[in-house]
């Protein structure tokens, strides 16, 4: 491999936290063991990616998708991960959907306000940054909108 896996490490703090939560109270981990686990996690991701990519190529797709990864888990004999991963995926999809709907709703609200502002709009025609004008009037409601 040209790329060295150890250059693509995952953050130590997060790895340590995951380990500590997996182990009983009072159990410690040596620095060497922790960094070895961190490297192992990187190798795991690389290996899983490679396996998943095989499934994508079999399906004549160029983009890795979730089911490729799940198939890779089974291939790597980590079937026990499949169920929790499927649950996590569903939760993730719900959250993404919720985020999308929330931002679409905000867009709708923004458009409504823009329409009512049309009378005052004398300067700019295509005004993407509505915050500047609205800031003076409806600052409270528009506070969340950060573009």
């Amino acid at each position: 491999m040209a790329e060295r896996p150890e250059d693509l490490n995952l953050p130590n703090a997060v790895i340590t936290r995951i380990i500590k939560e997996a182990l009983p109270e009072g159990v410690n981990i040596s620095k060497e063991a922790r960094s070895a686990i961190s490297r192992a996690a990187s190798v795991f991701v690389l290996y899983a990616t490679s396996c998943a990519n095989n499934f994508a190529m079999k399906g004549k797709r160029k983009t890795l998708n979730a089911s490729d990864v799940l198939s890779a888990m089974e291939e790597m004999e980590f079937q026990r991960f499949v169920t929790p991963l499927k649950e996590a995926l569903e939760a993730y999809r719900r959250e993404q959907k919720g985020k999308k709907e929330a931002s679409e709703q905000k867009k709708k609200d923004k458009d409504k306000k823009t329409d009512s502002e049309e009378q005052d709009k004398s300067r700019d025609e295509d005004n993407d940054e509505d915050e500047e004008r609205l800031e003076e009037e409806e600052q409270n409601e528009e506070e969340d909108v950060d573009n």
Binding site: L8, I29, A41, A66, L70, A91
Partner: protein, 119 residues
Amino acid sequence: MAAAVAAAAGSGPAREEDSSAGEAAAPQPQAPTSTPGARLSRLPLARVKALVKADPDVTLAGQEAIFILARAAELFVETIAKDAYCCAQQGKRKTLQRRDLDNAIEAVDEFAFLEGTLD
């Protein structure tokens, strides 16, 4: 409760990641959820994505795929830590050592792909 305080205090001095990039300070770029059960991913998706892109055969990876890989990596860390702990327990030690990890890798078939990669 004393144990929780001790654990919290114990995690303080263990922080040796000052030398690592600033990303260690921001492990959760995704919107944090308040309910613990809904905590989706602790590993930063950007880092996982970097690992995925390191594979020359991979063209593109969807966001869901990256997310599942991150979650799978977390599960993997939990699994290997627990398996390594079994070895330490047999030695009646309370600190996980590197050799516990090596033993686990040799003992568990699923970890065979790790052999020779951690040195």
